[in-house]
């Protein structure tokens, strides 16, 4: 699918008849993410390079979408998780509906929010990005609109009309496209228990220096407020891979001050280290426990945050020491007239 999307996007960019690209899913999901099980099988069969190859293609597609010279409209009418975010969040327009469910659930799997998440999560308000990335929290359409993950919210019944109007207008002008979608938009109300009402607690806690300090800060808040949501957040963090939490935190913090290309290149390095299992095999254990054997009881190693040295985390961010390995080489964009909103991301 990634190869096919790459082919299509590259072709559409050169085709003057294509003015914009609309991406949508079939059934109850926009896209639930990459086939992680398949990646694991590939690695068992062909070594870590087979897995790396998949991510190289995927991140290249993500970069292409992020720097695309024509607007992309993604219709997120359903589940959009993991790799599904990689092929939608970097596009100019993301349309949420009452069926949307967003998540970046990688830390539970022993991975980390990739596909350029260190770019788009870090740019959410305050420290919401750290919260979403570390906990894998689920957001609905209203929440996605509130925090900027979605650019528009359209009730699912009106989606066919949006599509028709966009095809009719046949324009590449983001101002026109936006105003067309606006015509069918609604302002959804946030549910009462929405996590979006807890932004001040999230900011206080998830701005702390380390994962340990984030947990301590959350624990301090529980004493003060006796809150179910905080308790659940703490539990989620305690269940996630400690290594994943630490590399995810640093990835988001570093990504906040980097352009989208640099983020993807850095994430590629990180994911190669994960594939190689040099410092931890949590990715394989996570896939086993959650996706294969489904006992939901992964045995992380290292099992405690305190046992993971900063120097180990540093290594995830460095080049892979292998003769054949190369940094991610995204497609060249210099020959295209990139719109300002793309240039701003570089």
């Amino acid at each position: 699918m990634i190869s096919r999307l790459l082919e299509l996007f590259l072709a559409y960019e050169e085709d003057p008849n294509v003015k914009l690209v609309i991406l949508k899913g079939k059934g109850r999901a926009f896209c639930a993410g990459g086939d992680v099980v398949a990646v694991v099988h590939d690695i068992w069969a062909g070594g870590w390079r087979a897995g790396a190859n998949f991510f190289m293609k995927e991140f290249s597609l993500n970069y292409l979408m992020a720097t695309y010279s024509k607007p992309q409209v993604s219709i997120l009418n359903g589940i959009v998780m993991g790799g599904g975010n990689g092929v939608s969040m970097h596009g100019r327009f993301r349309v949420a509906t009452e069926n949307s469910v967003f998540a970046m659930p990688e830390t539970a799997l022993g991975l980390f929010p990739d596909v350029g998440a260190s770019y788009f999560l870090s740019r959410l308000p305050g420290f919401f990005g750290e919260y979403v990335g570390l906990t894998g929290a689920r957001l609905d359409g209203a929440e996605m609109l509130a925090c900027g993950l979605a650019t528009h919210f359209v009730p699912s019944a009106k989606l066919p009309m949006v599509e028709a109007a966009l095809c009719d207008a046949d324009s590449s002008d983001p101002v026109i496209i936006s105003s067309i979608i606006d015509q069918y938009c609604e302002k959804p109300s946030l549910k009462e228990q929405t996590v979006y009402n807890r932004l001040d607690v999230i900011d206080r806690c998830f701005s702390q220096r380390t994962v340990e300090e984030i947990l301590s800060a959350l624990e301090r808040e529980v004493v003060d407020q006796r809150d179910g949501w905080i308790f659940a957040t703490i539990q989620t963090l305690k269940k996630a891979s400690p290594t994943s939490l630490k590399i995810s935190l640093r990835s988001i913090r570093v990504g906040r001050v980097q352009g989208v290309g640099a983020c993807l290149a850095r994430e590629y390095r990180m994911v190669c280290h994960v594939m190689r299992g040099e410092f931890s095999k949590d990715f394989f254990e996570g896939c086993r426990a959650i996706l294969l054997d489904k006992d939901k009881n992964p045995k992380w190693e290292p099992s405690k945050l305190e046992h993971i040295a900063d120097t180990t985390i540093d290594r995830y961010f460095s080049k892979v020491k292998d003769e054949d390995w190369e940094d991610l080489k995204p497609p060249t964009r210099s020959k295209f007239n990139l719109p300002p909103y793309v240039i701003a991301k570089l």
Partner: protein
């Protein structure tokens, strides 16, 4: 004619633009044969890993810096604005003085609530001190006022308690300072005395009946002036004053006095006035303070160096008042180090903006019908900016060296720290002003917009050449220290040791009459030629001062008369010391493309030093040599041109801390942007 035809073609294109097809809003302007912004990231290549270079430049606490950058960009209290699709954070300098002061305080509160200042005074050890420096460097990139407000509270007030006070002061004041239960300031400077601290006129006497010190401002020239934090917020201050005990003036000492109560009301017998609007730094509330026989408990005397007994006897382990005074001032170096380092980071901001702009702005075609030339493709533009870039890299390594010197300080290294911090503070802050001016000019008219930052930084940082030691005074102190080193080395069985003066023990370096590219780029040659200047000027300076003394003048008078040589000598010392730090940093690297580029920068820095007038004035270089140097500089500039983007990206300054002209300045100024 060609030009007229071209213009007519462009204008025709505008006029014949087809009408909009849709009935919705007016379409955005489409680009015709118009200028397009082309991001340098797409056309320039990185020859080395910029994250490796950033690690080398920043040196420490990278994670903490990124976290703090994030705190600033992610909060409304730091005034984020969107320009050209990007977020920039910078205080609103169009606000009134009162509003700016209020915002500075709100930002400090925000950071305080998130535990950023934890351990800054109660923590111990090199790690804490280095992390504190890193935080100041980051905050300084956002705004000078906030870093000064924090500097006054932590480095000056807090530092005074730490280093002039003893255990009971630490126990009583440090935790409350760190937790902002009190707000401190530092009352040393007076209207009539700044550099000459020993001449201040505030007088303190002791009342043995009540066990209190009585602090008084005897005349208008004795009012405390420029006291950061005093005008609005500070509750307590360190007061520097002459101490009169039993009719004897024991010299300058420091005491703690409360100036406001917890509700913000000025205490009795204290008068405070505002210093008023300044050319920059209006987020700092500088105040003037008069003490009208203010009584403070005896314990408020900061007594690490001297004390007064309850019955009014003056006690000090150091009998010599000069030495006592020196011991007093030595610990305040942290502030001076901070200012020096901060100046380098401002230069980085200026250069990042100017160079990125020069990589996207074009002016004049060489031939008709050709596209206009990028600013940075002009040799003259390269000559203006790239040597300053090299100097900034050099100063950055110097700054890292100075920080390490400071955190690893021992009583023995105090003297070296004093000389190096004086030299580097003066050099870095003066260079910064020069660099910002050049960068402002290189940005043309855009440099005049406050939101483009580079011009505004000049006014904000002008004060750096004056506070924490007037630069001219500091450089004079450097030359006096070198004089003392020279005299000490003349004693039997003594040689030059320390301050990098060991080269004086060796024979004088010889400069080849023919200078080739290989020679000019060799670090040994570069060190030799800088050491040569330092050596010769030190000899001359000593000779002139000695001559003057031989005529019967005092040493002080002789120093004053030899100011010209002193100035040249101070510069020679600084340039050489800075080059040394560059060479040492370069040596830590294994061979790689990053090291090659660094070597080019080092050569550019060194050769630029050779353009100093002293080289021709005192004949260290022949006229021919000087011409060869000049040509080599132009050559290196063109070799560095392809690395310009990588070199400024390696500063690790997030985009949000630069300004709109460093990015898509066309879109930032578009009509539709102005509508929001």
């Amino acid at each position: 004619m060609d030009r007229a035809f071209q213009r007519t073609k462009v204008l025709t294109g505008h006029l014949l633009q087809s009408p909009p097809t849709s009935s919705f809003q007016t379409p955005s302007l489409s680009s015709n044969a118009c200028l397009n912004y082309s991001p340098p990231e797409l056309s320039e290549k990185y020859a080395f890993d910029i994250s490796d270079m950033r690690k080398l430049m920043d040196g420490h606490d990278l994670e903490e810096r990124d976290r703090l950058f994030g705190m600033i960009t992610q909060s409304k209290v730091f005034n984020p604005r969107v320009r050209g699709g990007k977020v920039f954070v910078s205080p609103d300098y169009n606000q009134s003085m009162e509003q700016q002061r209020e915002m500075t305080w709100k930002r400090i509160e925000y950071l305080f609530e998130r535990g950023v200042f934890q351990g800054w005074l109660t923590g111990e050890g090199e790690e804490v001190e280095m992390r504190r420096f890193a935080c100041f460097e980051v905050l300084g990139l956002f705004d000078h006022s906030i870093s000064i407000k924090l500097g006054v509270h932590f480095f000056l007030w807090g530092g005074a308690i730490q280093f002039f006070g003893t255990k009971h002061h630490h126990d009583k004041w440090l935790r409350d300072t760190e937790n902002y239960l009190i707000k401190g300031c530092f009352a040393m400077t007076e209207l009539g005395h700044g550099s000459n601290v020993r001449g201040i006129e505030t007088i303190t006497t002791y009342d043995s009946n009540t066990g209190e010190f009585v602090i008084n401002t005897p005349c208008e020239s004795a009012q405390k002036y420029w006291i950061g934090g005093a005008a609005n917020h500070a509750t307590h201050t360190i007061v520097f004053s002459q101490l009169n005990i039993n009719g004897t003036n024991q010299g300058v000492h420091a005491l703690i006095a409360q100036i406001r109560d917890a509700d913000g009301n000025v205490c009795p017998n204290i008068r405070i006035a505002d210093c008023g609007h300044k050319i920059g730094l209006n987020g700092v509330d500088n105040g003037r303070i008069w003490f009208d026989n203010v009584r403070v408990p005896r314990e408020n005397l900061l007594n690490s160096v001297a004390d007064v007994s309850p019955d009014g006897k003056y006690l000090s382990a150091i009998k010599d008042p000069d030495q006592r005074f020196a011991a007093f001032l030595a610990p305040l170096t942290a502030g001076r180090v901070n200012i020096a380092v901060n100046a380098v980071y401002q230069s980085k901001v200026g250069l990042a903006i100017a160079i990125r702009y020069a990589l996207t702005r074009r002016a004049f075609s060489l031939k008709p019908k050709e596209p206009e030339v990028l600013l940075l493709d002009y040799p003259s533009h390269q000559r203006r900016l790239l040597p300053l870039l090299a100097k900034t890299y050099a100063m950055s390594f110097g700054a890292n060296y100075l920080k390490m010197l400071y955190v690893k300080r021992t009583p023995q290294s105090n003297k070296i720290i004093h000389v190096v911090s004086s030299s580097f503070k003066a050099t870095f802050t003066w260079s910064n002003m020069q660099i910002l001016q050049e960068c402002r000019e290189a940005c043309g008219g855009q440099g005049l917009k406050t939101e483009n930052r580079v011009g505004h930084l000049k006014a904000e940082h002008d004060v750096q050449s004056t506070f924490e030691g007037d630069n001219n005074i500091l450089m004079q102190q450097v030359s006096k220290a070198l004089f003392a080193e020279y005299m000490a080395a003349q004693k039997p069985n003594k040689a030059f040791k320390g301050l990098g003066l060991e080269h004086m023990n060796k024979p004088c370096p010889v400069i080849p009459s023919q200078l080739t590219t290989t020679t000019l780029r060799c670090s040994q040659f570069q060190m030799d030629v800088l050491c040569l200047r330092e050596r010769d000027l030190l000899n001359r300076f000593v000779a002139e001062v000695s001559q003057c003394q031989a005529k019967g003048e005092s040493k002080e008078h002789a120093f004053i008369m030899s100011y010209q040589l002193a100035e040249d000598l101070g510069k020679a010392f600084s340039d050489r010391a800075i080059l040394q730090t560059f060479v040492e940093a370069e040596a830590t690297l294994a061979a790689c493309s990053l090291k090659d580029v660094l070597g080019m920068l080092r050569s550019l820095y060194a050769l630029n030093c050779l353009e100093d007038g002293a080289y021709l004035r005192y004949g260290y270089l022949s006229v021919e040599n000087a011409a060869t140097v000049r040509r080599e500089i132009t050559k290196i500039c063109s070799e560095l041109r392809p690395h310009a983007l990588a070199l400024v990206s390696s500063f690790g300054i997030p985009d949000a801390f630069l300004s709109p002209i460093a990015f898509n300045w066309i879109d930032a100024n578009s009509w539709s942007s102005a509508q929001h």
